[in-house]
C-alpha cells in the first residue's frame, strides 16, 4: 500500500505549481491534475486557498497584537527546532509524539497538523498499525506534522510495537501486545475521528477496502 516512492512528492509538485506560469489558477488547475492525478484533491485545495490569499484584503494594521511580540514568539519556536534538530544528532526517530514534544507540539496539535485523530496518532506512535497497510499519504502527513523526512517516519513505523511510556501493570510482566491493526480498519473504528477526516483517509484505500 505504501510503497509508492516513484511519484513526485506533494511538496515538490506544489512548489512547481506555485512558480509555474500563470501560477495556481482555475485555468491551469486541470492541466496540473492531468499531470498529477493522485494529487487532485491537494491541487484543488491549494488553488482555492491561493485564490483566497490573493483576493482577501490584507488588513492595513494587525489589530489586537503587538507586532513586537511576534518576533520573540517566533524565536521561541526556532529555539525548540534548533534543540530538536541538533546537527550532531543523526539518530533515528525515537517516537512520533516524542519528536513533536521536542518541537513544542502537544499531541493534540500534532494530530491536527497530521489531520488525524488523537487515537490514530497514538496507535501509529506505538506502532500498533501494520506498516504494510499505512498509505504513503499518512506517512507524509506525519512527516509534515513533526517536520522530519518521510523515510525517517517510515523507518520508525516499521519497528516493533511498543507499550505506552510510563505504563504500570499489576502483573510482574508487561502484558503481551495484540496483533497490529490494519490502518483503514483503525480509521473505520475510530469514533473520535470526524467524518471529513475518515472520508479523506478511506479514500486512499483500495476500492474493495473502503
Amino acid at each position: 500500500m505504501n510503497q509508492n516512492n516513484e511519484r513526485a512528492s506533494l511538496d515538490d509538485v506544489l512548489n512547481a505549481y506555485a512558480i509555474s506560469d500563470p501560477g495556481p489558477s482555475y485555468v491551469s488547475l486541470p492541466e496540473w491534475i492531468r499531470r498529477f492525478p493522485y494529487y487532485e484533491r491537494e491541487l484543488a485545495d491549494f488553488t482555492a486557498d491561493w485564490a483566497l490569499v490573493t483576493w482577501l484584503p490584507t488588513p492595513v494594521a494587525n489589530q489586537s497584537v503587538d507586532e513586537d511580540t511576534l518576533v520573540p514568539r517566533g524565536m521561541g519556536i526556532v529555539q525548540n527546532i534548533l534543540h530538536a534538530h541538533a546537527p550532531k544528532e543523526m539518530t533515528p526517530l525515537k517516537g512520533i509524539v516524542q519528536e513533536g514534544n521536542q518541537l513544542g507540539l502537544s499531541i493534540q496539535r500534532l494530530a491536527e497538523r497530521a489531520q488525524m485523530s488523537l487515537a490514530l496518532v497514538r496507535k501509529l506512535d506505538l506502532r500498533r498499525i501494520r506498516f504494510s497497510t499505512i498509505p504513503v499519504q499518512a506517512i507524509e502527513s506525519l512527516a509534515y506534522a513533526i517536520q522530519r523526512g518521510s523515510s525517517a517516519v517510515a523507518d520508525y513505523l516499521q519497528g516493533a510495537p511498543t507499550l505506552p511510556q510510563g505504563a504500570s501493570y499489576r502483573a510482574e510482566q508487561a502484558p503481551a501486545l495484540t496483533e497490529p491493526e490494519d490502518f483503514f480498519e483503525a480509521v473505520r473504528s475510530d469514533i473520535a475521528m470526524s467524518e471529513e477526516l475518515r472520508e479523506r483517509w478511506l479514500s486512499f484505500a483500495s476500492p474493495d477496502n473502503r
Binding site: D12, Y26, L70, G104, L105, R148, E196
Partner: protein, 278 residues
C-alpha cells in the same frame, strides 16, 4: 586584537565555496538559486560576524547591500553547519522580523482564536527545513522565498480552516433555505454550463465587495471568491473540469444558495459601510 581575529575569520570565509543546492523539482531537475542570490551569499561569506549581521539588518529593499531572504536562508544553514549559534539566532530573528507581517496578515482571516497557533505552525514549517542539515527539503526557500512562504501559509491556513470546520460546525447548513442532505448531491444530474452564467456579478460589484470578503463565513467566502473572482464553474458534465460542486461535494442548488447568501451578506456589509456614524 579583536579586529585582527575578525579579519582572519573574514579571509578564511572568503575561501569557502557556496554549497550547491541538491533537491530536485518535480521534473527531476536540481534547484538553482539566482545569480543575484549567489553573489550576495559570496559577499556575505567574506564578512566578519558583526559585519554580516549588521548588513543583514538592512531592511531597505532598494539598498544595494540588502540581503534577499533566499540569501538569509543560505547563511542560516551555513552558520548552523559551522556551529555558530549566535549568528544563527541573529539571522533567524531578522528573517522572522521580515516575514511577521505577511504571515500574520494573511492568517487574520482565521480569527483570533486560531491565529496564534497558525502563526506558530508557519514558523515551524518555515524554520524546520532551514535548520535541518540532514535534509535538502528546504532548498526551495533559497530559490523563491516569497512563493515558498506563501505556500507554507496556505498550507497552514487550510489546515486550520479544516480544524475549525470540524470542531465548531460554524456553518448552520440546515438553517439555510435550499439546504440538501449529502445524499441528494449528484453532479451527474447537472445542468449545462451556460445555464449558470446569470449568477455572475459585475466588475463594479466585485470591486465594491472585495473589502467585505473577510466578513463572510466559510464556506460562503471560499465559494463566492472561487465563483466570482476566479471564475470557477458551479457544475460541469465533463469530469475533468474542476467545479465548485465537486470541490465542495455539494449539489448545484446548494452552491447557488450559498452564493446568493454570500451576496446578501456582502450587500448588508456594504450598506453598513455607508451608514452615517452616530
Amino acid at each position: 586584537m579583536q579586529s585582527d581575529i575578525d579579519e582572519k575569520i573574514g579571509e578564511a570565509r572568503a575561501s569557502v565555496q557556496v554549497q550547491p543546492l541538491t533537491h530536485c523539482n518535480s521534473a527531476g531537475e536540481v534547484y538553482q538559486c539566482t545569480a543575484a542570490v549567489h553573489v550576495q551569499i559570496e559577499a556575505g561569506l567574506t564578512l566578519t560576524s558583526s559585519q554580516l549581521v549588521e548588513r543583514a539588518r538592512i531592511a531597505d529593499y532598494h539598498s544595494p547591500d540588502y540581503f534577499r531572504e533566499e540569501c538569509l536562508v543560505y547563511l542560516i544553514r551555513e552558520f548552523r553547519r559551522r556551529g555558530d549559534e549566535r549568528i544563527v539566532n541573529d539571522l533567524s530573528e531578522i528573517l522572522i522580523s521580515r516575514c511577521r507581517n505577511m504571515i500574520y496578515g494573511r492568517l487574520q482571516a482565521l480569527g483570533l482564536q486560531s491565529i496564534d497557533d497558525a502563526f506558530d505552525d508557519v514558523i515551524l514549517d518555515l524554520f524546520a527545513p532551514i535548520v535541518d542539515l540532514r535534509s535538502d527539503r528546504g532548498d526551495f526557500l533559497q530559490v523563491r522565498f516569497g512563493l515558498a512562504l506563501q505556500k507554507l501559509i496556505i498550507g497552514v491556513y487550510n489546515l486550520h480552516v479544516r480544524r475549525i470546520k470540524a470542531t465548531q460546525n460554524t456553518v448552520p447548513l440546515s438553517s439555510i433555505a435550499g439546504y440538501e442532505s449529502e445524499g441528494d448531491d449528484d453532479v451527474r444530474n447537472s445542468v449545462p454550463l451556460n445555464d449558470v452564467a446569470d449568477l455572475s456579478i459585475s466588475m463594479e460589484q466585485r470591486m465594491l465587495y472585495q473589502e467585505g470578503l473577510s466578513s463572510l463565513k466559510e464556506p460562503y467566502r471560499t465559494a463566492f471568491i472561487l465563483r466570482h473572482y476566479e471564475g470557477w464553474q458551479i457544475d460541469a458534465k465533463d469530469s475533468s473540469v474542476p467545479t465548485l460542486s465537486r470541490y465542495f461535494k455539494k449539489s448545484r442548488r446548494t452552491l447557488q444558495t450559498w452564493l446568493t447568501h454570500a451576496e446578501e451578506m456582502l450587500e448588508h456589509w456594504r450598506e453598513g459601510q455607508h451608514e452615517p456614524e452616530q
